[in-house]
Symmetry: none
Subunit: 178 residues, 4 copies
DNA sequence: GATGAATGAGCATTCATTCAT
DNA sequence: AATGAATGAATGCTCATTCAT
C-alpha cells in the first residue's frame, strides 16, 4: 500500500468533514446523490472533494471502508446473534453500506474491507457453534448471505422493531436447528 | 380506478411492446437505464413512451405491477417453499422487481399489486401451517420480509445454486421449528 | 456508410446552423472554444448540439469534412498554383482546418476527406507537370507537406498579401526548377 | 527591463528546474498540459511555480524565450540551409516553440526574443546571398515565414526524414532561383 | 521563500420531459 | 396517435489561481 506524506491538519479536518457529509448524504439519498450536495453539506468547495477523492466512486469506496471497519470492531464485542441484530438495526442508518455491498451500479471494489468483515463474522460463527447455538453444518457463506439479505430487507422495507425481531427469530431458529 | 376510452389496437400493441422492452432493459441495466433505450428496444419513438407512461416512474410502476401479477399467478400453483425458491431463482432475471420493491430512489406506490401478492403468499402460508411444515406462531409479515430480503440478497449477491439452496435451507428450517 | 432516415426539415436547418456557428466559433477561438458558445451562436440549446454531434470531436470532424469537401471542389476549378494561393488566402478564415489537419490534441480521424483532397491535389500536380510548370521529380507527398505548412504559417503568422505572395513565389520557383 | 533583487540560490535553482520540466512537459503534451504536471515533474509544489511565473502564460513565454535564445546561438554556427534543416528536425522536440510561435490561444508576446532570432537569420541570409546560394530579391520576411511554416508542418505532420528532405529541397531550390 | 490545500468558474455530456410536425 | 427534435437543468470532473500554514 502506498502511503503519501501525512496530511496537513486542515486537510485532515476537511477529509473527515467530507466523509461525514458523504455518509449522511448518501444515507439520505442513496449513492445517486450528487457530489455537489456532499460538498455543500461538508462546507467545502467542490474542488476540495475531488482533491481528496478523485472520483465519486473513490468517495463511495472510502465511506464503505470506514463503515465496514466500524462493523468489524463492533463484531469483536458481540456474539453472532447480537451482531446480526445490530447490523439490521443499523441498516437504515447505513443505507450506503447496504446499497453498495449490493453493488448498485457503481464500480467499487473493497475486497480487503469486506474480507475483514467476513473474517470477523467467521469468528463469531465458530464461537456460536462451540456454544451450541448454531448447528454444525451451517457455513460462513450462507451466514454472510443471510446477513446481507436481511440488511437489505430491513433497509428498504422500513421494518419496525417487532417485525425486525420476528424476522430475525426465524433465521436464528433456522441457524440453531438446521 | 378511472378507465379512459379503450385504446386503439395499435396503441395497445405499442403499450405491450414498451412494457416488454422496459422489462428487458431495466432487468439488464437497472432502473437507471435511459428511457430512450427502452424506446429504441421497443421500436417506438420516445414520445410514444411518454404518451403511454407520463413519467419514467409510471413506466417502472407498470412493469412492477405486471411482474407482481405474474408472481401471484405462480403462487397459486406452488407450495410456500417452492414459491420462495422460485422467486429467489428469478430474482436476477427480475432485477427490477427486487430493486423497486426496495424503492431505489424512485417514487413508486403499488399498494394494490403488492397487496395481491401478499394475499397469495398468505394463502400459501396457511396451507403450509395446515400441513405442519411451518410453525404456528409464524406470521405473514415476517414471511414477506424474508421473501423480500432473500430476493434482494440473491439479486445483488450473485449467488450460485449451492449458496442459494443452503441459504434457503436455513430459512425453511427456521420457519418449521420457530 | 450507414445512413439513417432523412432528417426532418427543422432538424436539417438546425444542423446547418450548428455547423455554421461551429465553423465561425472555432475559427475565432480555435478548437478549444466551448460547445456552449457554439450552441449560443447557433441559437439552439446545448442538448441540440449534442443530439446532432454526440461528442465535441464529432462536431469538429464534421466541420473539417465540410471544409475539406469545399476545398476539393475548389481544386477542380483551378491550377496547382492558384489552388495553393487560394488555400493560403483562406487559411485564416479556415483556422479550424489548418489547426485540426495539424491535430491539436483532438481525436479526429478523417482519412476519407483528407484522402479526397490529396487525390484532387494529385490531379493538379499531374496537370502542372504536363504543362511544364512543375519539375518532374516533385512528388505529391512534398506538395501536400508544403501546402499544409504554408497554410499553418499563414494562419498563425498573420501574413499580409505581399508577404503571402513573396513566400509562395519562393515555393513556386522551387517547384518549377527543383 | 526592470530587474528585482537577485534571487536566492535555491530560488534560482527552482526556477531552472521548473523551466526544464515545463519544456519537457509542454513538448510532450502541448500547451494544454496542466501546470500541476509541470510542478510534479520539477519536484516542486504548485505554489512555487506560480511564485516564479504568476500565470501559465508567463511560464510559456519564459520557455519560448529560452528556446529562441538557444536557436539564435545555433544560428551563429551554421549557414542558412543548415539552420533551416536543423530547425525542422528539432520541430517535434520543440513542439512548444512551434505551437506558441503559432499562438495557439495563449496570450504571449515575445518581441525581443523573436527579434533576436530574426536578426540572426538575417545575418545568415546575407551570407547566403553573398555566397550566391540565395537569389538577390529574396527578403528576410519570406525566409522567416517559410521557416515558421515548415516547422509547423514538420511538427504536426509527423514527417519522416525523406519527406523532410524533399520538402526542404523544394524550398531551397526556390530560394536559389527565385 | 516554499508548500500544498482550497477555491470555483468552466466544460463535456446525459436524460427526463415537452411540443411542433 | 405517433414521431423525434429541442429543451435545459444537472452531473462528474478539471485546472488556473489564491492563500493559509
Amino acid at each position: 500500500m502506498v502511503e503519501g506524506p501525512p496530511l496537513r491538519a486542515d486537510a485532515q479536518r476537511n477529509r473527515a468533514r467530507i466523509l461525514d457529509a458523504a455518509e449522511a448524504v448518501f444515507a439520505e439519498f442513496g449513492p445517486r446523490a450528487s457530489t455537489e450536495e456532499v460538498a455543500r453539506r461538508a462546507g467545502v468547495a467542490i474542488g476540495t472533494v475531488f482533491r481528496h477523492f478523485p472520483t465519486k466512486d473513490d468517495l463511495l469506496a472510502a465511506i464503505m471502508k470506514r463503515l465496514l471497519t466500524q462493523l468489524v470492531e463492533e463484531a469483536g464485542q458481540r456474539d453472532l446473534f447480537a451482531f446480526f441484530t445490530l447490523m439490521v438495526a443499523q441498516a437504515a442508518a447505513k443505507k450506503t453500506v447496504a446499497d453498495l455491498l449490493a453493488g448498485s451500479g457503481m464500480n467499487i471494489r473493497l475486497p480487503d474491507a469486506v474480507g475483514h468483515l467476513e473474517e470477523a463474522v467467521g469468528r463469531l460463527l465458530e464461537q456460536a457453534r462451540a456454544a451450541g447455538v448454531v448447528a454444525a453444518p451451517v457455513r460462513l457463506a450462507e451466514v454472510m448471505a443471510l446477513l446481507a439479505s436481511v440488511c437489505q430487507g430491513a433497509l428498504h422495507g422500513g421494518w419496525d422493531e417487532q417485525l425486525q425481531a420476528r424476522t430475525l427469530a426465524v433465521i436464528f431458529a433456522g441457524l440453531k436447528r438446521y
